[in-house]
Point group: C2
Chain length 122, copies 2
DNA sequence: CAGATTAGGTTTCCGATAGGAACCGGCAGG
DNA sequence: CCTGCCGGTTCCTATCGGAAACCTAATCTG
């Protein structure tokens, strides 16, 4: 029943907590998933993700860049072309994100079903 | 280099996306980690997590309850006693969260180092 | 018997953040 | 000349998170 090792790793003040808070927002995980297959352009991310605004995507990518997870390469062309790519550090996140993705694929329906059931009960 | 299977699971409109957005907020992952070892009281979570307000903890737990991941048991006592516990569905999340936790433990320092380096460069 | 204590929750207020939409820059093509 | 292109920024509003006070009701304390 104990999911984690002794001394529960991030129920305290530690780098792990900061790292979790870094990626635990509405879009970061999805953006990282979008980057996991190689360099992608800003517009491609907007399209493939669907629902994210340009502003928020830029913010998210800049934050990931500042934390060393993403590399930004802007070509000096017109119209502009900007490609984003996972750094080696960012690539290490692909595995945990895949675990999350697979959970979501397996249980997404069950979560929605529970939500519906709860709402009917009100 | 391709982290995910063909047809990138949640870069579209699907239950997986909803499931990810359900848990991808500032506190949900941490709260779930706090619940992963068995029934816990509201106050215990406040203490062990550290930094979360009562209001937000309540909101988070209620949302998880509505989605079928957490079960809430309120004892009719005074002073009140309320225990929260993962449902079987919620327990399936323990594994992906552990993967995330272990990534954070392993790479939290590196992320902070990159952040410092970036800020010095400005 | 009056008043403090307890634990979970709610309310109020304020600052931070997200989202939509419109706009910018600067060159290519109609 | 004017429009489209792409990434980014700005403006405004709606929502969210956080701090602190308040609520309930039985039990403890003086």
């Amino acid at each position: 029943m104990s999911g984690f090792g002794p001394g529960d790793p991030f129920l305290a003040d530690c780098p792990a907590r900061l790292a979790v808070e870094l990626i635990a927002d509405k879009w970061t995980v999805v953006v990282l998933a979008g980057l996991s297959r190689g360099p992608v352009r800003h517009g491609e991310l907007i399209e493939s993700i669907g629902g994210i605004s340009r502003k928020v995507l830029t913010q998210t990518l800049r934050r990931l860049e500042a934390h060393g997870l993403v590399h930004r390469h802007a070509y000096a062309e017109v119209p502009p072309r900007v490609e984003y790519e996972l750094t080696p550090l960012g690539a290490t996140l692909t595995e945990p994100i895949r675990a999350l993705t697979e959970w979501a694929k397996a249980n997404g329906e069950a979560v929605l079903a529970a939500l519906d059931a709860g709402e009917r009960a009100l």
